[in-house]
Symmetry: C2
Subunit: 98 residues, 2 copies
């Protein structure tokens, strides 16, 4: 494997696996205060577009990497929204900052 391919694989693994610690931190601490729902909504949509792009180009590595990223970023989004609405119920219906 030449250096360029190696660098590309390291980049792909890092930018895919990076979201794992964020998911684990939310599951462990339950704290989603500083997390931007807008960011994860746009990011999840963008990664879904990369999935479609990978399917059209029949590029399996691109598809698989973005599938993992899609699952992770949508998990962060879902966990954050769920926690915000739990907080809302606890606040007796006051509208939370999303």
């Amino acid at each position: 494997m030449d250096n360029t391919t190696l660098i590309g694989m390291i980049a792909a693994v890092c930018t895919t696996a990076a979201f794992v610690p964020q998911v684990l931190q939310i599951l462990k601490s339950g704290n989603v205060d500083g997390i931007s729902v807008a960011m994860y909504s746009i990011l999840t949509f963008g990664v879904a577009m990369w999935l479609v792009y990978g399917i059209i180009l029949q590029d399996l590595p691109m598809f698989l990497a973005n599938l993992v990223t899609f699952l992770l970023s949508s998990s962060v989004l879902a966990l954050t929204l769920r926690k915000r609405f739990q907080n809302r119920r606890n606040l007796g219906g006051a509208v939370p900052h999303i």
Copy 2:
């Protein structure tokens, strides 16, 4: 421009611009509680690798998109670390959860 190129551009713009709302939310609220430093450290390193990859391949769009993402993700990382160490000083030296 054909549909495939359009989908690729939408994907690139979204996965690059997605970090802007997170940076703005931190600047506005100062709240970094739920943000994972591990995630942004790995992500920033991974995006830096994509930058190197783009330079080697002399792929300008890949370089420019990842340069923007690198600046945004490293901003989130720097703002989060700065806030955590400010909190540490306010707590009189107790070790904050990073």
